[in-house]
């Protein structure tokens, strides 16, 4: 039988039954317990009609139970669909309908915001409440939660199932999870990833960073962010202990830094934003980092001055810059052997052994050595496509000539790169309006679409203002319809009704009109420059095409 992601737990449960698999908030779940509890959960899913090939949404704060649920979904042969726990119910509803989920895993407190219509049209079999303890199954108000029209399954019912392994009908090419990312047309799109996709990365990363059963891995990234696949699955593969970060401390860099050092975590994988905030605001320099063995980062550019500081604090650890969009997971990497000098951004390195990278021009021909071009990726981690969007998939995944006479499907990243003479790729920027903030990828067009949906908005542009600590901060510039008065808070709230928090503009500026280039396009560059804020009538020269 083929190896699938949940088999990593099954195999570690056989080898390391009593070793800790998950440690969080003072609780420990051993590999034997994780194996048996996820079997029970898979049986509960199957018992309520979830079948191989189905999708099950997870919308709950991080917890030990949320990890059990994720494995249970895969053991039922289904794909898990992790939804940002901070996303509003409207976004959950959109995703649930978009990929037609057969079930939802949540907690009682969240269920209060939902009713049976939340996933209208999706073949919802049941909702599961993945929480233990005295508050299980009770909303803060005291009433038992209820989503009418379908069975509501409590954790006690899950625990009463048999823990015998369910029959798993899935193959490596079947979907393991779907990750929704920001879409430029205003709607998030579901990136479909198979067990094989995930395992290619997980096996390589586990080997190259030598993760063993003695390791203690931080899990900082939420499950809708693919950094979490390393923490969970490379950890499970090695029989290591994974430490999911408590939602209570996640927003406090000083608390996270203390916790990780106190727990003597050996492997950290996080976004540069997270690590920079731990360094600048978390008091990392006064803590004991002697347990840190491997520090990995991905998701955005790490400002080298901060990386240097970090490497001096823990000089014996190994550092690596991992790069890759959700559609390919990690596809290139750079071993950072010594603290980088100067201010030149760190390269994104070279291809991981399971993928190939190509730097192509507009006509899909390789650029001359050292010239800038767009990065395309082919190989084992490249996604299966976007759920339910064949036309978007066809634009992103194209059959191209990768070597004379050899064609294969490759993913178009939209990232502009240049190959340095040492073979490392240098990241130059984007060919569209996608930006990073706190490691999250955001299509500015998606936020603009939401702003335009407000009846009082005539025009709206969203700008990404570069920021040292979090890569970009988001600012919207809005022109209201004649005679309409809107306030900033109301418009932010309108955004928060359908967007995750990290996509809600921090500031919204109102103007009578937007500056235009001579070709009539909105002059984004002029808007980003600080002087343009003071001088709203100013027109800047057309810089299109340069």
């Amino acid at each position: 039988m083929s190896t699938l992601l949940p088999h990593l737990v099954t195999e570690s449960a056989a080898r390391f039954a009593s070793r800790p698999a998950l440690v969080m908030d003072g609780r420990t779940l051993t590999y034997a317990e994780l194996e048996s509890l996820s079997n029970r959960f898979a049986r509960s899913l199957a018992g309520h009609g979830v079948r191989s090939g189905d999708r099950v949404a997870l919308w709950l704060p991080r917890s030990i139970e949320s990890v059990v649920a994720l494995y249970g979904v895969m053991k039922a042969g289904a794909a898990y669909v992790p939804v940002d726990p901070g996303a509003p119910p409207a976004r959950l509803a959109y995703i649930a309908r978009d990929c037609a989920v057969a079930g939802l895993v949540t907690v009682a407190e969240r269920a209060a915001a939902l009713d049976e219509t939340f996933a209208a049209g999706a073949p919802m079999r049941a909702v599961w409440f993945a929480e233990e303890g005295p508050s299980a199954g009770a909303a803060p108000g005291g009433d038992a939660p209820r989503i009418d029209g379908m069975p509501n399954v409590t954790w006690a019912e899950v625990a009463a199932e048999s823990d015998r392994a369910p029959e798993l009908r899935a193959l490596e090419g079947d979907l393991a999870y779907i990750l929704y990312t920001s879409g430029s047309t205003g709607e998030p799109k579901g990136v479909m990833l198979s067990h094989r996709n995930a395992l290619a990365f997980v096996e390589w990363a586990g080997d190259v960073f030598q993760v063993t059963a003695q390791d203690r891995l931080a899990n900082h990234a939420p499950f809708h962010f693919d950094l979490s696949t390393f923490d969970l699955f490379a950890g499970a593969r090695a029989g290591a202990a994974v430490y999911p970060l408590s939602p209570r401390i996640a927003s406090f860099p000083a608390a996270v830094a203390r916790q990780w050092c106190a727990d003597r975590l050996t492997v950290w994988y996080a976004t540069p934003s997270t690590l920079v905030l731990m360094l600048t605001r978390g008091g990392l320099s006064s803590l004991d980092l002697s347990a840190l063995r491997v520090l990995l980062f991905a998701g955005e550019v790490f400002p080298v001055k901060y990386l240097r500081d970090l490497m001096r604090l823990a000089p014996s650890a190994r550092y690596a810059n991992l790069y890759g969009p959700t559609e390919t997971n990690v596809c290139t990497w750079l071993d950072v052997a010594k603290p980088p000098e100067g201010d030149r951004p760190l390269p994104i390195g070279r291809a991981c052994p399971y993928d190939d990278v190509l730097v192509l021009d507009e006509s899909l021909k390789p650029v001359p050595a050292g010239a800038a071009g767009e990065l395309w990726v082919r190989g084992a981690t490249v996604m299966r496509g976007y759920w339910g969007r064949p036309e978007r998939t066809a634009l992103a995944l194209q059959s191209i000539e990768i070597a004379p006479g050899v064609t294969d499907v490759a993913y178009r990243t939209g990232d502009l790169v240049r190959m340095q003479s040492d073979g490392n790729l240098e990241f130059l920027g984007r060919r569209d309006h996608q930006v990073k903030t706190r490691g999250y990828r955001v299509e500015l067009g998606e936020i603009e679409t939401v702003l335009h949906r407000h009846p009082g908005v005539d025009e709206a542009v969203v700008l990404a203002i570069p920021d040292d600590e979090v890569t970009h901060r988001l600012r919207a510039v809005v022109v209201t319809k004649a005679g309409v008065a809107l306030d900033e808070a109301a418009l932010r709230q309108h955004c928060a009704d359908s967007l995750p928090r990290y996509m809600v503009p921090e500031t919204i500026e109102f103007r009578r009109e937007l500056p235009r280039t001579s070709s009539g396009k909105v002059d984004r560059r002029g808007l980003v420059q600080p002087h343009a804020i003071l001088n709203t009538e100013r027109r800047t020269d057309d810089d299109d095409g340069h």
């Binding site: 726990p85 927003s251 406090f252 905030l277 978390g282 008091g283 932010r492 709230q493 955004c495 928060a496």
Partner: protein, 84 residues
């Protein structure tokens, strides 16, 4: 509600908590366990308190216990104003 609590509450409701359900936020209502504050919200709140109340809040004081509720943030501010 004290004056400090009221100023902090007003800031949170209008600038940080983009949520229709918090219009009636009470000083003792939980902020963290409901997931209302992300790391940028906390940075903004710290900056607001420092500027509004003329205090400085060291990074090591920016911890979950001190941001549990409007009341907890106000207590932190009042402690810093008293110079401890």
């Amino acid at each position: 509600m004290t004056a400090t609590e009221s100023a902090i509450r007003e800031f949170l409701v209008s600038e940080v908590l983009y949520d229709r359900e918090v219009k009636d936020l009470k000083p003792e209502d939980p902020l963290i366990t409901r997931g209302l504050l992300d790391s940028l919200s906390i940075l903004k709140t710290v900056t607001f308190c420092e500027e509004r109340f003329g205090i400085s809040i060291p990074d090591q004081e920016v911890l979950p216990d001190h941001f549990e509720s409007v009341r907890a943030i106000a207590a932190l501010v009042d402690r810093r104003r008293a110079g401890s």
